[in-house]
Amino acid sequence: MSLARLHEVLCQSRQHVSPFLMLGDPTPDVCVALCRELVAAGASMLELGLPYADPSADGPVVQAAGMRARKAGVSTDEALQTLARVRAACPDTPCNLLVYGNLVHARGYARFCADAVAAGASSLLVPDIPLEEGAVLRRICREHGLGNVLLAGPRTPNKRLAAIAAESDAFVYLAGHQGITGANANMAECRAALVARVRRYIDVPMCVGFGLSSPQHIQEVHGAGAEVAVVGSHLLRVLSHALQEHPGDLAHLLAAVRTAFQQLLPAFRQPKEIPSCS
């Protein structure tokens, strides 16, 4: 059901901005409230991560988000319960679940997929189970109606991109730069060229993430042919700052993250820069 909804949403518009949040960060209640807030502010999709102790593809900001959630006692069970609450609060918004391989392995592939679908996940991205190692997991996902999302990167050869697209029945997740999430590389030109190249070799929807933090980044990614832009570390940095500066102030937290998100939306126009009078 959820996967069908994802396909429907991807058909409706070609310019989605999807926030990435960690399930249970900073607590399950606040996480649900944040998701509701962001969907109300215009998020047509959500990407949600399961807290993990060794997220090898993630930068320090996402690592810290996972640590906050784990400190709040969020394990796989609580994370999936939180996901179910998010889906209840935002029934029309598809959720892509990001999970490191060992959490899926420990629960057993079949049980994990069944539980993820029951909680309302529409698709699954396991960053450390690549194309060659993932055949069994992808088959089980398909059996459960859970969409497969595979990673691609700047160094992925063209032929391999086609193979990755063929296995991605939800969408392909393209890392916008070589490295880990959130790095603040200013690679605007490279990124647009990369997205355009990958676009030529894949015929399924494409989502781009890693280091997107401004409306220009988002426009460039959409302009080069990606349907979805994912913003993670940028929002989590705002969240972390709000938690530190205004601890316990939920209204402030929600407003800060919502504002940061809205400023990225394509509909939002930055005020034109006033030329300096030199």
């Binding site: 090898s56 629960r107 960053p127 060659e132 990167g153 160094r155």
Partner: protein, 398 residues
């Protein structure tokens, strides 16, 4: 249903569970491992460097007084005498030569006890490759002399403060560095862990230990030993020794895992004795994890064994029954340091002393018969451990 790795599998273990962003570099390295490493030119350069810079072959030393205490005939494979003070140099020389052949201009590595970091820093200095080492902040404290040696060789040492601030976190950060720098950087993984091809590559580079040891046994003892013993953290010194005898069915393999404060205490690193299969750092192998799959922190007095997973080939050797693994507690390892030092005048690393401790109790434990001939890999020297050893010296008032 069991999960079977597809690339670089050792039975149900191993594989290449790495993000797509590393795939290209791993495939390139796997290709180099297949094509370049066995080539006569590479082997000539590798062996020459091992001999003239590394100091190979290392001796096989008979230790009669220690043997009497163990009620065995014990021979030590003296990797402590290799340049740098541990077996790590074998692997690093090979990977540095390979990195140059691949056109890489920088080396990055993790280190626990600092021996692999020192070896990489030395090799980087010799081959003109800048080196960045990731090391847990806690390990930097307890292995300060090795940190100094790395810095003297010109390496940049980056403290890792996340989690338990030990080897696992150092590998996480080294992998993150490599993901961003693969174009010009080679990741010198220090043990037989990680995604394919590292477990097989590092084994092949460390196999010189077993090859030499087997030939020395035949020459010096006149027969093959009843057993080969080594400590196992990630497991590279053990695989290096075992690989020389893998077709000799009569040679039993014993691995000494870090028992920390005891398995029952939960504070240990005995992955094979007390762990379960899972995915960590690119491979399926035994690891310490909770029921949800969150990685647990390991504990050991030996920084070089303080790791919650193990090389996938060891998992395979365990399940197939070819090798047997036992946990050795901190106290027993520290006592074995003193025993060897006072009986033979050889100061072993605390890591290596885990194997010595296993050797001392092997007859009582029924692993071996009295008088059996045993080769123990003395994988490193203990100079780096002086602060820990002096604090634990028997009879010393603090």
């Amino acid at each position: 249903m069991s999960v079977i790795p597809q690339v670089g599998a050792f039975g149900a273990y191993g594989g290449r569970y790495a993000p797509e962003l590393l795939w290209h570099a791993l495939a390139e390295l796997a290709d180099a491992h297949r094509r370049i490493v066995p080539s006569p030119e590479f082997q000539r350069a590798f062996r020459r460097e091992l001999r003239t810079w590394g100091g190979r072959p290392t001796p096989l030393t008979e230790v009669p007084s220690f043997s009497a205490l163990a009620r065995l005939r014990v021979w030590l494979k003296r990797e402590d005498l290799l340049h740098g003070g541990a077996h790590k140099t074998n692997n690093v020389i090979g990977q540095a030569l390979l990195a140059k052949r691949l056109g890489k201009r920088r080396l990055v590595a993790e280190t626990g006890a600092g021996q692999h970091g020192v070896a990489t820093a030395m090799a980087g200095a010799r081959h003109g490759l800048p080196v960045t080492i990731y090391m847990g902040a806690r390990d930097m404290e307890r292995q300060a002399s090795n940190v100094a040696r790395m810095k003297l060789c010109g390496a940049e040492v980056i403290p890792v403060t996340t989690g338990a601030a030990t080897l696992k976190e150092a590998i996480d950060d080294a992998l993150r560095d490599w993901a961003a720098t693969v174009d010009d950087t080679h990741y010198v993984l220090g043990t037989v862990c990680g995604p394919d091809p590292f477990p097989a590559l590092v084994r092949d580079l460390q196999a010189v230990i077993g090859r030499e040891a087997r030939a020395q046994c035949l020459r010096q003892i006149g027969e093959l030993p009843a057993a080969a013993m080594a400590c196992v953290g990630g497991g590279s010194n053990a695989i290096g020794l075992f690989s020389g005898f893998v077709d000799d069915d009569q040679v039993k393999f014993f691995g000494a895992e870090p028992g920390g404060s005891g398995i029952a205490s939960g504070r240990h690193g005995a992955t094979l004795c007390a762990g379960t299969p899972g995915l960590l750092h690119g491979a399926r192998s035994y690891m310490l994890q909770d029921k949800h799959g969150q990685v647990l922190d390991s504990h050991s007095v030996a920084a070089g064994l303080d790791y919650p997973a193990v090389g996938p080939e060891h998992s395979f050797l365990k399940d197939s029954g070819r090798a047997e693994y036992r946990a050795v507690c901190d106290d027993a390892a520290l006592a074995a340091v003193t025993t060897l030092t006072r009986s033979e005048g050889i100061l072993p690393a605390i890591e290596s002393a885990h194997a010595l401790a296993l050797c001392l109790t092997a007859v009582d434990d029924g692993l071996l018969n009295e008088g059996d001939c045993v080769v123990v890999n003395l994988s490193g020297r203990g100079d780096k451990d002086l602060p820990t050893l002096l604090a634990n010296l028997p009879g010393e008032e603090s």
